[in-house]
């Protein structure tokens, strides 16, 4: 019995080392003073947090959260029907699609961001296509811009959403949809009435994973966005790298963690068993 109990402490050990200790360190630094020549001076002060009590930071925090929710919503709306239809294919085709999708994850963020920049530039293929179709009057670069950031983020997190949804959807018994069909539901109706409620948990999980990934996104907003639409992650990076104010960056990170925890709490509440 004792040996089993000893093994069960392993998850706690791992969580301590990878989550708790770094977080406590971050928390400590957020109460320290900046050291222009080094990293931080070990005093206890609220200066870093006081420096965040302004409209600019609140705006960035809200913008980051709103964008995370928006991109997550778009990603799940695209990813859920995609994954559902994919699981209706035969095994072989499913494997091909999954491998293809996971391969896109192996591309680096930096490469993705710059590829989008090229594609959405004035002479990139996409803008020329829009002009040729008469959707825009004159080809004009779409970067930097919010739309470019959102699009590249949807592209970046979609594979994670699909991989999260895939197990639940591939285990969805086909006869439950067929039952709805024989009871009078059109295919679209059966999808809304049966498939979505059956996958509520995985849907919330995919949404939260997408939102958290977007909150942490750094490269896309930096490369494709305007300074006024830089996300919290970019501001944190700037504070630490350009501003040499590590306590300020740590304080921002703590605020972001609180926001993410709130998101997690809401999702736990949304998936609770009624």
């Amino acid at each position: 019995m004792l040996r089993v109990a000893a093994w069960l402490t392993w998850p706690a050990v791992v969580l301590c080392a990878t989550v708790l200790v770094p977080f406590l360190l971050l928390l400590r630094i957020s109460f320290a003073a900046p050291d222009p020549s080094g990293l931080w001076i070990p005093v206890v002060t609220l200066d870093a947090y006081r420096g965040l009590l302004n409209r600019e930071f609140a705006g960035a925090l809200l913008y980051s959260l709103a964008m995370a929710l928006l991109v997550a919503a778009v990603t799940v709306s695209i990813g859920f029907p995609f994954t559902y239809l994919m699981t209706r294919l035969n095994r072989r085709a499913q494997v091909v699609w999954l491998v293809f999708l996971l391969m896109s994850l192996s591309l680096s963020d930096v490469l993705n961001a710059f590829s989008w920049q090229v594609m959405l530039s004035k002479r990139g293929g996409f803008v020329s296509l829009l002009a040729a179709l008469g959707i825009v009057a004159r080809p004009e670069s779409l970067t930097p811009g919010d739309g470019a950031v959102w699009a590249s983020l949807v592209y970046g997190v979609l594979p994670f959403a699909v991989v999260t949804l895939y197990p639940a959807l591939s285990r969805l018994p086909p006869e439950i949809v067929e039952a709805a069909r024989t009871l009078g539901a059109s295919p679209g109706r059966a999808f809304r009435n049966v498939v979505i409620p059956m996958c509520r948990g995985p849907l919330v999980a995919a949404f939260v994973i997408s939102a958290v990934l977007v909150l942490g996104a750094y490269v896309s907003p930096l490369v494709l966005g305007r300074p006024q639409s830089w996300t919290l992650a970019v501001l944190i990076g700037n504070a630490a790298l350009a501003g040499h104010d590590v306590p300020r960056a740590a304080a921002m990170s703590v605020c972001m963690l609180v926001a993410v925890s709130l998101l997690g709490g809401v999702s736990a509440w949304a998936t609770r068993r009624r």
Binding site: E175, E178, T182, L183, G184, P197
Partner: protein
């Protein structure tokens, strides 16, 4: 006048080169209970799914009351189906499950509630309406699946082995309930099963399927007493299949002995090889000296009590015959078990040509 009920005309389903259902034509008159019976892989479920509209036929037509529904999608057919896995919606309560088809049809709330409580009473689960599906027992879930299917007042009631997951006692009970319900509501019903007992006790008529083809359509007693071919004779119940030769219109030569039968199919000349099929209960085992005509000599090789009768295996010169006896007869016979005669009841049995 077009016949009322369901009609299948040359229905066919192929997957690549594999023919799952091959040219099935049959009629299900309105109000009848029909069982599709066959071994697994015989195409019976594919046939039912085509009727439900869940599978598109490769060829053939499907008509209901003379109306062609071949191209009508499942949700517009108003055919109810009960699935083998039941497929109840786990995220809804019992009431919500039953009301689902009514909600789709925009039935007003009051009317919906009235129908649901009516159906709950019908399946004797009036107290369980607000429970979740997972809180019900297997038999209760079964009844909810049936009620959910019936809520839409279907034109056709389709059941795909719905009782196979239940234990024997509960299955028996549900069979009776299902039959009573069907008679009460006069529902045109098709039940798919591989369980011959279920088919024989439930169906007004039985469609025996094998290899995607209809082997025989008939009443349970027809199927049992007058099997159309060797497959049906062998699949349903215990049956002795004996090689024989035609002698004349009333007699066969079975294993060298003359046997009188009810009738030899017309057009068969003397010497035609046929199969003679006879049920164990039509075989009387007697001491050798009591043997009359229609008898084959043999030796009892095995006996076992099966309920209220004794099943006997008789070795007739190397060929096995299955017979039956009452326990009293078997007790009287036990002394002379090595020299018995197998007495075939005159006029019993069927002559099969295929």
């Amino acid at each position: 006048m077009t016949p009322s009920g369901l009609e299948l005309r040359g229905l066919r389903k192929s997957y690549g080169t594999y023919l799952a259902v091959d040219d099935v034509s049959l009629q299900v008159p309105a109000g009848q209970f029909v069982c599709f019976l066959g071994p697994s892989g015989c195409g019976k479920t594919t046939l039912l799914r085509m009727i439900a509209g869940l599978e598109a036929p490769t060829a053939g037509r499907l008509l209901l009351n003379g109306l062609d529904l071949t191209a009508t999608p499942a949700h517009q057919r108003n055919f109810a189906m009960v699935f083998q896995a039941l497929a109840l919606f786990p995220f809804l309560t019992v009431e919500e499950n039953i009301a689902y088809s009514l909600r789709l049809r925009n039935v007003a709330r009051q009317e919906r509630q009235r129908r649901v409580s009516e159906l709950l009473a019908l399946i004797k689960l009036s107290d369980c309406g607000s429970r979740r599906v997972e809180q019900l027992s297997g038999g209760q879930r079964q009844r909810v699946a049936i009620a959910r299917a019936l809520a839409q007042e279907p034109m056709l009631f389709l059941l795909d082995e719905p009782l196979s997951a239940l234990d024997a006692k509960l299955r028996d009970h549900m069979q009776i309930e299902l039959r009573l319900l069907q008679q009460k509501l006069r529902l045109t019903t098709i039940l798919v099963t591989h369980d011959q007992r279920e088919a024989l006790t439930l169906g007004d008529s039985i469609v025996v399927l094998a290899d995607g083809r209809v082997q025989q359509i008939g009443s349970p007693s027809d199927i049992y007493r007058r099997p159309a071919n060797r497959f049906v004779a062998g699949f349903i119940g215990q049956c002795n299949l004996m090689e024989a030769e035609v002698l004349d219109s009333r007699h066969l030569s079975v294993w060298g002995r003359v046997v009188e039968v009810a009738a030899v199919p017309g057009g068969l000349i003397k010497g035609t090889p046929v199969t003679f099929s006879i049920r164990p209960e039509d075989i009387h085992v007697v001491p050798r000296e009591d043997a009359a005509s229609n008898a084959l000599p043999g030796r009892v090789s095995f006996a076992r009590e099966v309920g209220e009768r004794v099943e006997l295996r008789i070795d007739c010169n190397g060929r096995e015959v299955i017979g039956a006896a009452s326990p009293a007869d078997w007790a009287a016979l036990a002394g002379s078990a090595d020299a018995v005669s197998v007495q075939l009841r005159a006029g019993a049995g069927t002559v099969l040509t295929c």
